[in-house]
Subunit: 591 residues, 2 copies
């Protein structure tokens, strides 16, 4: 059975030495959120994840959710763990204080997200969806909706969903058919079928608040005619007391590759009573409020699963005895040496480690930026952070989930045949990780968001802001002796990225297919270069550590060197692949 | 539910226009094996695969094998399909005529292997293991063993296994503990536990012939003290009649990520009666006879699953309507265009297609070489073929299974959320494909075999033979107008490979860890370049097609262009990664 240890040392290194997380305590409302406080929250959350939630992960996979006539039972132990999670205040952690939340920074949410996903991806999705609903209602709902729904979503006694997909409408939400007819009393009658609704029905909470995309009778075609509605499973009175059942029902749950502990539901709405969130026909805005928060969280799913898979592969590689080191036995009294002596096993372990620590740094940096965007006192700083968050959201989502999936597979490979056997738990990480490349917008959609929307926006303003920060950091790093040799490859990757971007946008001006043909390769190139930059920042921070921390310093510098020499070179291939253009992609008949 | 159509057009193109399969009919014993005959065998085998075996694939996954007190029941339909398979003579297809086989060339076996794996990987493994046992007994067994076991293995009434792995000994067979004690009557008493034994117990055949690695009492330590034994499940009399049960028992079956229709058994041998195959302490030779044949077949597992996954992804991409083409609606009367209009979907489809057709060409080329190695009348031709088969075996096994796994994942991605749902069948292909990177020697072991053994062998003789063939083909291709522009990138990849090889071997002379640190990257580089060469051969063949075949010609040329411009550039990254050397791999403490 796999184990999980919260990576508190790495979190501490990032918050303390790399990302200046303490800056958050200078923002209004975050006065208490010092690095020390955030680290102790992480420690406490990590304990819950490791001790209460992780032990349910394999049980959730083996039992799955069970459907019976509209009702869904979650796996054994999920309800008790969810209650413990809410009782200890974790559901309320980053929610607004005025509705009962604890008002901690988004950064803390990102840190806890990662650990929850390492512990139990299926479990983590229940609170994640409640948080998405909270965010949308907080931003777009009127006072009455906020008063009625937020406190219960925030204390965790109610859960939430995002009801977007329909059988004929997944990526293309413009063609959804669910209808919303005004009832005359301010409410609407919602009718339609939604599929792939995570946590659409379950037994963890007394109510479930569905956020549903639907069309009003006078809606224009396409995404400009979509509105967002709240549809509770149970109607409630003024005081929030549960009343009669609403016209929404789970018709079935899907049998899936993984995340079996989370119910993926077909939901049918039959004149269900709902209330409009935000303005008519402006539902996509509300949807994107949920989506953007969720996309960063989904990136953390990739990271979290990568971390737990890596931890177990590392531990297995130290224990499993097979073969002898080429340079002389390290365990001469045993039948064989631990497999960690073999260079190819070390290559796999270092690949995982270098990606994981790099992705964590990048993701936490974005977590801080989300706080800067909402809380900084300077409007210019807020605007810059907003640009960077918009730019990096698809990168975090797609790069961390693509790489996270690859890492779970590398970890499985370290186990050899045992990796393929269920009881060892490695293959569950692979199966669970696979969904994160698909939902909340497939990684192809993320790549189109990056290259088709964020990069060209305002003549490249977002990308220029990012490049300026990287440039400044690389120049400073080049002056530090231990780090200087690593700067040139990262600077080279950044300049290849910039050249490729310019060439691509020039081609795209003549042929819009250039964007789609290059987008996924481009996102990976962008992610690789960004993580290269993060490794420079980490190497700089490590170099400044005192001799007490020599082991950490050496470890970070060695891992940075591995990243720039063994992983970053992929940008050269991606550059050539992007330069090949769209004609080679579009030419074959593909009959 | 997924469908499967045997890729007969592509097989015909390869056998007829690219690989001169008709040469086999000039070898003694293969006089009937004309291309026409082989194609009609492929057509008939393909029909059985598509109509009888493929429909059992999802059933096998859903039901799995069932264990009850030493007995294993295969999924519904497997027994009837296996009987039909044997009755039609497929088990005997490439087996020697003198023991009841049909004596068809190995090439036909490779072609049928691919189709069986596309249809149902779990099913395909039962005959595969019988074939492995047949090969080992044919090569190393004495006349009595051949007479007693081969006819029944060849007609399929008995099945076989390879009992190598033990709990403490997987990759490292030198530390196996199973003992074989001479009984004085020419037989041996075998005692020990073997794990991960595919098809170790089942209900398809009346007997199961285990080929077991064990140590004799006077065995030297390590792999030089391992002997190979035949241990039948049931003892038999002179006439092959089933007698009493031998001391071998299945103790349990594993719960696995995939290949659930094939029983993976823990086998316990308790003074089981066995007979020595070959000489004492020389069992590794016999094991490698099975292994090498099996490794090419496992490569076909990667190819076969890639093919069926691609076929379904292509079909889904033509049917699923989402979004609009950037260059104008192609289905204006519908709600949306088929997703195949989107460049990123086409990128995924073309990636799959270019790899699959390239891997198929390379694998069939090796299939022919195996026939040349055994049947050519010229000793020099046989020796050259033996070298090339030895060189390419790890490449076929590892490259086709790594890439095959990636392709099943790309195919799943084309389905979006539906890919994650079991009923669509795509996620089963992913789960089934994952094992092929692990068994018959992990892909890391294959890479060590290539770079640590085959490449340096006799000062690079094997690689020089290969390079000479490629060089000759590239020079000829450069003179053909339509192909010439593709030659330069492939020649560049080959020269990067040669430079990298020389530099690597020079470093390895000083530090043996250089081999292990580079091996997996090297194997991928080798595979990418080899397939680049095959695309040149295919492009040359396509260019020579008559105008009747214009669609095929254009398709092959477009796919070749895609390969060299969008996939082959990965060699640049791999080259840099290999050049980085082993120090960066070995430096970190990895505590």
């Amino acid at each position: 059975m796999p184990t999980y240890t919260p990576p508190l040392d790495d979190i501490r290194f990032l918050l303390t030495h790399v990302l200046d997380a303490n800056q958050l305590s200078r923002f209004p409302g975050y006065e208490d959120a010092t690095t020390d406080l955030m680290l102790s929250v992480a420690e406490e959350g990590g304990r819950l994840c490791a001790e209460v939630i992780a032990p349910l992960n394999q049980i959730g996979d083996a039992e799955g959710c069970t459907y019976d006539d509209g009702k869904v039972r979650t796996p054994s132990g999920f309800k008790a763990a969810y209650d413990a999670y809410c009782k200890a205040g974790w559901a309320a952690m980053i929610a607004p204080v005025e509705f009962g939340g604890q008002g901690l920074p988004q950064l803390v949410g990102t840190v806890i997200d990662e650990m929850l996903c390492s512990a139990n991806l299926s479990f983590s999705m229940y609170p994640l969806l409640a948080h998405g609903a909270t965010t949308a209602i907080e931003k777009w709902g009127d006072d009455e909706l906020k008063r009625r729904y937020l406190p219960r979503l925030i204390d965790g006694s109610w859960c939430g969903t995002m009801c977007l997909t329909e059988p004929q409408a997944g990526t293309d939400l413009g063609i959804i058919r669910t209808r919303a007819v005004p009832a005359g009393d301010g409410s609407y009658a919602i009718t339609g079928t939604k599929i792939f609704i995570s946590a659409g029905e379950h037994d963890l909470t007394e109510n479930i608040i569905h956020l549903v995309l639907a069309r009003l009778p006078d809606a224009p075609a396409g995404t400009k005619g979509i509105s967002l509605f709240i549809v509770p499973k149970f109607l409630t009175d003024e005081g929030g007391k549960i009343g009669k059942r609403n016209g929404v029902r789970c018709n079935s749950i899907e049998h899936k590759m993984g995340i079996k502990g989370n119910a993926t539901c077909v939901m049918s709405f039959d004149n269900a009573i709902g209330w409009l969130v935000g303005e008519p026909h402006k539902g996509m805005r509300g949807m994107f409020t949920m989506m953007n928060a969720a996309r960063v969280s989904v990136g953390m799913q990739g990271l979290g699963l990568a971390e737990v898979a890596y931890q177990n592969a590392l531990s297995y590689s130290k224990d499993r005895l097979q073969g002898r080191a080429m340079t002389g036995a390290t365990n001469p009294s045993g039948d064989a040496d631990p497999i960690i002596v073999h260079p190819d096993v070390r290559r796999m372990l270092m690949t995982m480690k270098a990606y994981i620590e790099g992705m964590r740094a990048l993701a936490y940096w974005v977590g801080i930026l989300i706080d800067v965007e909402t809380r900084h006192t300077d409007a210019g700083a807020r605007a810059e952070a907003a640009d960077l968050v918009a730019l990096m959201t698809p990168v975090i989502k797609a790069f961390c989930t693509d790489t996270g999936f690859d890492i779970t597979n590398i970890a499985l490979q370290c186990y050899g045949g045992h990796g393929y056997i269920r009881e060892y738990g490695m293959e569950q990480f692979v199966r669970d990780a696979r969904i994160a490349q698909i939902y909340e917008g497939t990684n192809g959609v993320q790549a189109m968001d990056l290259l088709g929307r964020k990069i060209p926006d305002d003549n490249g303003r977002l990308a220029r802001r990012f490049a300026a920060i990287v440039q400044r950091d690389l120049e400073a790093a080049a002056k530090i002796g231990t780090v200087a040799p690593l700067v040139a490859p990262v600077a080279d990757a950044m300049s290849r990225l910039q050249r490729t971007t310019a060439a691509l946008l020039a081609r795209a001006a003549k042929n819009p297919d250039e964007i789609g043909a290059a987008a996924v390769d481009y996102l990976h190139m962008f992610g690789l270069a960004s993580i290269g930059w993060m490794w420079i920042r980490m190497a700089v921070a490590a170099s400044a550590l005192a001799d007490d921390d020599a082991a950490l310093r050496d470890d970070k510098l060695a891992t940075a060197r591995f990243y720039v020499s063994k992983l970053l070179p992929q940008v050269r291939a991606l550059e050539a692949q992007i330069d090949a253009g769209s004609d080679v992609v579009m030419a074959a008949a593909l009959t």
